[in-house]
C-alpha cells in the first residue's frame, strides 16, 4: 500500500526539475550581474535622500570631483579646478564631450540649472554646510563654471564629491516643483526597468565618457533579509553580495571558508562606536568614562561578536581619513586599572554587591540599542558583561530605531550605539554635525567643560583658510574628544564582498556607498 502511494507520487517529483528548468530559462545572460539590495532603487533623484538608494544614485549621477581612498580628490566631471583668491569662489573646467543619457550636453548651463534647483529648496539640505554656503553658480563659458560661496569654506571641494545632493541630472528632466521627470544622468549606467518589490535593471551607458562598463546589465533583486540573500547567493540566483551589513558576520565567515566563493574585506570606511553621555549621571564623571574605556574588551568584541570581519577601532576616525593620522591610541584593556580608577573616584564595591556605589547612588547606566539589530544586541550584551566585571551596572534598552533616534536627540542615554558617516563626510561633515543638538554627538559632549570651545573650534576648522591652522584645529578637536572619552570606538566598518569564484574581478569602491559595478571585469 505504502509502496503504491509512493509510486503514485513519483511523477509529481520528477516534474519538479522541469519546473526548475522553467525558472532557469528566465535567468539573465552571462553579461548580466545579479545583485541584491533590501529595497528598490527609488525615484533616483540626484539631489534627494530616502527612498533614493545611494548605491544607485552613484551609478547614474556623477560629481565634479571624485573622492579617492585616503582623502584625495580626483577629476570626474571637472577636469581642473581652482580657488579664487578671496576663498569664496571656485572655478571648474568641465570635461568636454560629456553627454547625459538623453543626449543633452553636460555643460556649464546644466551645472547651473542643477545647483539652482538645489538652492530652491535649501531646507532639505540643512545638514550639509556647503548648501548653506553656496550663494550661486554662474556659467563663465560653455565649459567653465564658477561656484560662488558666501564665505571661505575649505571643505567645499570634499562635499562636492558626496553621492548626494551635488550631482547632476539632465536639465530637461528637472521639474519646477523640485522633482524629476526621469532619472537621467551622465554616469556609466541607465535605469532600464523598475518593478516595485522585485527588481531594478540597469543597462550600461554605451556612450559613457570613461568607456562603457564591461558588464552589459546589472539586475538588482530586492531581498530584505540577509539570510535570503545568502541563500540566493549559494543557490546561484545572485552573483554578488556587497556592503557593510548585507551579510552577517557568521555567514560571511562561512562563505570565506567555501572554495566556491571569493570573499574580501575593504579598508576601514567608517567607525562603529558608542557615544558616552558626559551630561548624564554617572558618565558625567570623567573617571567613569575612562573606566569604561579601559574596562571593555574591544578585542574580544571584534573577535567573538564581529568574528574578525571588522578591525578594532581605537580612535573616532580611521587613520586613513584626512586630518585623522594623529597617532592617538586607545587605552589598553585593563580591568584592574579600570576598577582602580573607579575606586579612586570613590565608587566602592560593598561585600556581596555587584554594583559599585558612591554616596548611596548605584553606578548604573542605560545602554541603548536598536532592538531589531541583532549585532547591536550581541555587542550590548557583551559590553554589559564587561561593565559588570568592573562593578558598573548596565540596563540594556533595546527599542525601535525611532525611539533610539529620539534618545539620541534628547540625550536620554548613558551609552548609545552610533556610527560615523564615513568618507567623504568624515571627519569634517561629522564634526560639523556635532554642533547640532539633534545629534547624539552634541548630547554626548554637552557635559564637557570645553563644549563651547569644541563648537567654536569646529567652526574654525571648517571655515579657516590657513591649512596649517585648520590642521591644528582638527588635531586639538580629535585629541580632546579622545582624551575626554565621550566615544568608545568599537570597530571600523568595512564593506564585505562575496561572489562566486568564477565571476571575475570585483574591486571595492572608494566610499561606503559606492559599488563600482563599472569596474567589475567578468571572467571570459
Amino acid at each position: 500500500m505504502l509502496r503504491r502511494s509512493l509510486l503514485r507520487a513519483l511523477p509529481a517529483l520528477t516534474a519538479l526539475p522541469a519546473l526548475a528548468r522553467t525558472a532557469g530559462a528566465a535567468a539573465p545572460a552571462r553579461s548580466t550581474l545579479r545583485f541584491s539590495w533590501p529595497a528598490n532603487a527609488g525615484p533616483l533623484h540626484p539631489h534627494l535622500y530616502a527612498p533614493n538608494q545611494m548605491y544607485a544614485q552613484a551609478m547614474l549621477y556623477e560629481p565634479l570631483l571624485r573622492y579617492v581612498e585616503g582623502g584625495q580628490l580626483a577629476p570626474a566631471l571637472a577636469t581642473a579646478w581652482r580657488a579664487e583668491p578671496d576663498g569664496r569662489g571656485h572655478v571648474f573646467t568641465l570635461r568636454p564631450g560629456v553627454r547625459f543619457t538623453d543626449g543633452a550636453p553636460f555643460d556649464a548651463a546644466a551645472v547651473v540649472a542643477n545647483i539652482r534647483a538645489l538652492l530652491a529648496r535649501p531646507e532639505r539640505h540643512d545638514w550639509l554646510a556647503l548648501v548653506a554656503q553656496i550663494e550661486d553658480a554662474e556659467a563663465l563659458g560653455p565649459g567653465t563654471v564658477r561656484l560662488r560661496l558666501r564665505g571661505p569654506y575649505p571643505p567645499a571641494l570634499m562635499e562636492l564629491a558626496l553621492i548626494r545632493p551635488l550631482r547632476f541630472a539632465s536639465p530637461a528632466v528637472l521639474r519646477p516643483d523640485g522633482g524629476i521627470s526621469a532619472p537621467i544622468g551622465t554616469g556609466p549606467w541607465m535605469l532600464a526597468e523598475t518593478r516595485p518589490g522585485q527588481h531594478d535593471l540597469f543597462r550600461r551607458n554605451p556612450h559613457y565618457w570613461g568607456g562603457p562598463p564591461a558588464l552589459e546589465q546589472v539586475l538588482v533583486r530586492v531581498a530584505a533579509d540577509s539570510n535570503t540573500r545568502a541563500l540566493a547567493l549559494e543557490a546561484g540566483e545572485i552573483d554578488l553580495a556587497y556592503g557593510t551589513d548585507q551579510l552577517d558576520a557568521d555567514t560571511f565567515r562561512r562563505f570565506a571558508a567555501d572554495r566556491r566563493f571569493t570573499t574580501a574585506v575593504s579598508p576601514p570606511l567608517a567607525t562603529r562606536l558608542l557615544a558616552v553621555n558626559s551630561a548624564r549621571f554617572p558618565t558625567d564623571a570623567p573617571a567613569v568614562r575612562h573606566a569604561i574605556a579601559r574596562g571593555v574588551d574591544r578585542a574580544a568584541l571584534v573577535r567573538h561578536v564581529l568574528l574578525d570581519t571588522e578591525p578594532a577601532a581605537g580612535t573616532l576616525f580611521p587613520e586613513n581619513f584626512p586630518h585623522a593620522d594623529l597617532g592617538l591610541r586607545a587605552p589598553d584593556f585593563d580591568r584592574a586599572a579600570a576598577a582602580a580608577l573607579l575606586e579612586q573616584a570613590g565608587w566602592h564595591l560593598a561585600p556581596g554587591e555587584r554594583v559599585r556605589r558612591r554616596a548611596g547612588r548605584a553606578l548604573v547606566l542605560d545602554l541603548c540599542f536598536t532592538g531589531s539589530d541583532a549585532l547591536q544586541k550581541s555587542l550590548a550584551e557583551a559590553i554589559q558583561g564587561d561593565l559588570a566585571r568592573i562593578g558598573i551596572g548596565a540596563r540594556l534598552l533595546g527599542e525601535d530605531s525611532a525611539t533610539c533616534l529620539g534618545r539620541q536627540k534628547s540625550g536620554d542615554f548613558g551609552l548609545i550605539f552610533a556610527e560615523t558617516w564615513g568618507a567623504p563626510y568624515d571627519p569634517h561633515a561629522f564634526l560639523a554635525a556635532m554642533r547640532q543638538p539633534a545629534h547624539a554627538d552634541y548630547q554626548a559632549q554637552r557635559g564637557l567643560p570645553m563644549k563651547d570651545e569644541i563648537d567654536r573650534r569646529i567652526g574654525a576648522a571648517l571655515a579657516g583658510t590657513d591649512e596649517a591652522a585648520r590642521a591644528e584645529e582638527y588635531r586639538w578637536l580629535l585629541t580632546t574628544l579622545h582624551e575626554q572619552a565621550v566615544y568608545f570606538p568599537i570597530s571600523f566598518l568595512t564593506n564585505k564582498l562575496v561572489h562566486r569564484a568564477d565571476l571575475g574581478t570585483v574591486p571595492f569602491g572608494d566610499t561606503r556607498y559606492e559599488i563600482p559595478f563599472d569596474r567589475i571585469l567578468p571572467r571570459g
Binding site: 519538479l16 526539475p17 519546473l19 526548475a20 522553467t22 525558472a23 528566465a26 541584491s36 529595497a39 528598490n40 527609488g42 525615484p43 535622500y49 530616502a50 527612498p51 531646507e123 532639505r124 540643512d126 545638514w127 518593478r195 516595485p196 518589490g197 522585485q198 527588481h199 533583486r221 530586492v222 531581498a223 530584505a224 533579509d225 539570510n227 535570503t228 541563500l231 540566493a232 549559494e234 543557490a235 546561484g236 540566483e237 531589531s372 525601535d400 530605531s401 525611532a402 525611539t403 533616534l405 529620539g406 536627540k409 554635525a433 547640532q436 543638538p437 539633534a438 545629534h439
Partner: protein
C-alpha cells in the same frame, strides 16, 4: 441568500470605520513621535524647526479627531495618503503588491484544502491504523514548525542542495511552489486534524448506520453522507485560515523576497510608516470580511437547513 449577502456587505462600512478609527488612534496615541519617524524616514536631521515643520505638514498639530476626519475624507476618495518612506501613494502600492499576496494566499489555500481534506478523510477512515498515526504525526510536526524556519529548510533543500526550485523572487509558477508550501503547512495540518475529527463525528451519526443497513455502497456512504456533512466545520475554519494565511505570508514573503503586501507591511512596521500601516489594516480587514462572507455563502449553499432557515 441575496439578502443575506447584501446585509453582510452593508455591515462592512461600519466595521471598516470602527477599525480605521481604532487603528488610527492607536498609532497616534502610542509611544513615540510620528513627526520624528517621518523625519527619520526622510533622512532629515530632526532639529526643532524641522520637527515643527513636519508636525504642521502632517497635521499632527491638530486634534486627533480632526486628523482622522481629514484622513477619512481622503480615504473615501480612495486616497490612503502617501508612504513616508517611498513617497508614493499608498493606494498605488496596494494595487501593486496585493495581487502577489492574493496569488500566494490563494495557492496556499488550495494546498491547505488539497492536503488537509483528503488526508483528514483518509486518517479518519483508517482510525488507529498506520495512516491515522502517520498523518497525526505529520499534523503535529506541521503545526509545531514555525513557517519562517520551514521556509529556510525548504530553500536549503530544494533551491540550494537540489537546485530544483528558485530560492527567491516571483518569476513564474516555479517560484510559487516553496512560498506556498511554507505558508500553507500550518493551516493544512490544522485542516487535516479538523477534517479527521469532523469525519469521525459524522461516522458516528445514527443516520449513517441506517444508510449502511439500507445496503448503500461504501463509496456513496463516504462521499454523500460522511464527506459532505463533515465539510461544514472545516469550511468555517477556512474563513479563519484566510487571515492566518495572509498574516503568515508576512514572514514568508520576506524570506522568499516575494513582492507582496506582507513584506511591504513588515517593512512599514520596521519603518513606522503610518500611512502604509493604516492602508494595510484597511485591506486586511476588507479581505478578511469578504473572505468570511464567501465562506458563509458556501456554508449556506452546502447546508440546506441554513438556507431554508434564512429564507423563512
Amino acid at each position: 441568500m441575496t439578502g443575506f449577502a447584501l446585509r453582510r456587505l452593508l455591515s462592512l462600512p461600519p466595521l471598516l470605520l470602527a477599525v480605521s478609527f481604532g487603528f488610527f488612534a492607536m498609532l497616534r496615541l502610542g509611544r513615540g513621535d510620528p513627526a520624528l519617524d517621518y523625519l527619520r524616514l526622510a533622512q532629515i536631521p530632526p532639529t526643532d524647526a524641522a520637527l515643527a515643520l513636519a508636525r504642521a505638514e502632517l497635521g499632527l498639530d491638530r486634534p486627533l479627531l480632526a486628523q482622522y476626519g481629514a484622513w477619512l475624507a481622503d480615504a473615501l476618495r480612495l486616497d490612503l495618503g502617501t508612504s513616508w518612506f517611498t513617497r508614493r501613494p499608498v493606494t498605488a502600492e496596494i494595487a501593486e503588491f496585493l495581487p502577489a499576496t492574493l496569488q500566494l494566499a490563494g495557492t496556499a489555500m488550495l494546498v491547505t484544502l488539497a492536503f488537509g481534506i483528503p488526508l483528514g478523510l483518509w486518517a479518519a477512515l483508517r482510525r488507529d491504523r498506520w495512516p491515522d498515526h502517520a498523518t497525526r504525526l505529520i499534523a503535529f510536526l506541521g503545526v509545531s514548525v514555525p513557517n519562517f524556519w520551514l521556509a529556510f529548510l525548504l530553500v536549503l533543500l530544494f533551491a540550494v542542495t537540489l537546485g530544483w526550485l528558485p530560492a527567491m523572487g516571483r518569476d513564474g509558477p516555479a517560484s510559487l511552489v516553496l512560498p506556498a508550501l511554507a505558508t500553507a503547512t500550518m493551516s493544512a495540518c490544522v485542516m487535516l486534524r479538523l477534517v479527521r475529527a469532523s469525519v469521525l463525528g459524522a461516522l458516528g451519526e445514527p443516520h449513517l448506520r441506517f444508510a449502511a443497513a439500507r445496503g448503500l455502497p461504501r463509496r456513496t456512504l463516504v462521499g454523500r453522507h460522511v464527506a459532505l456533512n463533515a465539510m461544514l466545520p472545516p469550511l468555517t475554519a477556512m474563513g479563519l485560515h484566510l487571515g492566518e494565511l495572509i498574516g503568515g505570508a508576512m514572514v514568508v514573503e520576506t524570506v522568499f523576497g516575494w513582492p507582496g503586501l506582507g513584506r511591504w507591511a513588515l517593512q512599514a512596521i520596521a519603518n513606522r510608516d503610518y500611512p502604509v500601516l493604516q492602508g494595510f489594516v484597511m485591506v486586511l480587514t476588507t479581505v478578511f470580511v469578504l473572505g468570511n462572507l464567501l465562506v458563509d455563502l458556501a456554508y449556506a449553499w452546502l447546508d440546506p437547513r441554513i438556507r431554508l432557515e434564512r429564507a423563512a
